[in-house]
Symmetry: C2
């Protein structure tokens, strides 16, 4: 986001080129994104205020705007980091496993993140954030990468007979995405009738096996 992060890509094989200040800046931007993540998950984009973010990080609001030029840009950065984490997880999957098991692992991982107060993956809502994200090339690129990886897994699973042949890939993909940010999780947790692990099992089960 800030200009100092550019030189880092030029030379990183040598001794640490990043000055103390540069490192601190990166750490601080990480902290800002952490706070943004948490608040986005808790309140959503519209209800999250820049004052809250600044307060949670412990800096002044004006300083926030030195790092990120707008609320949209800040949220986009958070969403991009989330996407990159997801990509890393998917790329690190055990390719020995059946494709369907890998897909379940992705969903289980995403649900686990949300249980810990993290962000849902999908920019589902009718928020002004959606528009901003669709105009963000980095975000779109990462999303496309993820979609492609997931589509490969889905098609492999379909080839294995683990997914209905009649279901188009996009239907399966969005259904999994949607389940990862399904409000059912919150309601089941509030009811307090089941453990977190049970809730995740139910969600994965009803997604992949359905109600019957």
């Amino acid at each position: 986001m800030s200009k100092e992060s550019k030189p880092e890509s030029k030379a990183e094989s040598k001794e640490p080129k990043l000055s103390f200040k540069q490192q601190q800046l990166i750490v601080r931007e990480g902290a800002i994104i952490d706070a943004t993540n948490s608040l986005l998950a808790k309140k959503g984009f519209d209800l999250m205020t820049m004052d809250e973010v600044a307060a949670e990080v412990g800096i002044a609001k004006a300083s926030l705007y030195k790092h990120f030029p707008s609320k949209e840009a800040l949220a986009a950065a958070a969403m991009i980091r989330l996407l990159e984490n997801t990509l890393a997880f998917v790329r690190g999957l055990d390719t020995q496993q059946a494709a369907i098991e890998q897909l379940k692992a992705v969903l289980a991982w995403a649900l686990g993140i949300r249980m810990k107060g993290g962000l849902p993956t999908l920019p589902s809502e009718n928020t002004s954030l959606r528009e901003a994200l669709l105009n963000n090339k980095v975000y779109i690129n990462r999303l496309w990468d993820l979609n492609e990886l997931m589509a490969e897994l889905i098609e492999k699973a379909r080839g294995d007979g683990a997914i209905q042949k009649e279901l188009p890939t996009d239907v399966v993909l969005f259904t999994i995405y949607a389940r990862s940010c399904d409000p059912t999780m919150d309601y089941l947790r509030i009811s307090g009738q089941h453990t977190d692990a049970q809730v995740i099992d139910f969600l994965i089960g009803t997604c992949f096996r359905g109600l019957q």
Copy 2:
């Protein structure tokens, strides 16, 4: 909402007791709720403004506040009307049908409403509306009525072997509710690869039969 609507419950078997003005008032409140419904579905509670509602109805914003004391109350009224429509639909289901078919019919109906620009049933989001709704006794009562009817259907379907025995009723209930406001619908429609009827079929199928 307004005080004039009370006498109507006293006597309705006789000739029309409602004066022209009273009828007009009811019609206008209906129009207000229509507009609210549409805007809530399109933009969500936070992004919907009272100016927009007033503009869509064609009255001044101040007049709106004569009918509904706050934005929350207005949205609650819209949600309550939606719930009552849903209750009417459920109560009018063909009880000769298998319970599972009745459940599918409810989901299909809800998805159809959304396709036509209507509201999703679930107050899922982290919006300030949620809190207001939870403090609204009428809303809670209606919601409870609906949950009870749905739970009966679910348990009957489970008895028929159409729903997994291992799945608790609340899991099934929320899963169906969630599917009724699933963002997957919007994404599949935007992609333009499928007809509206196909999209509904996919959503119902992946809900009840799962991905496999």
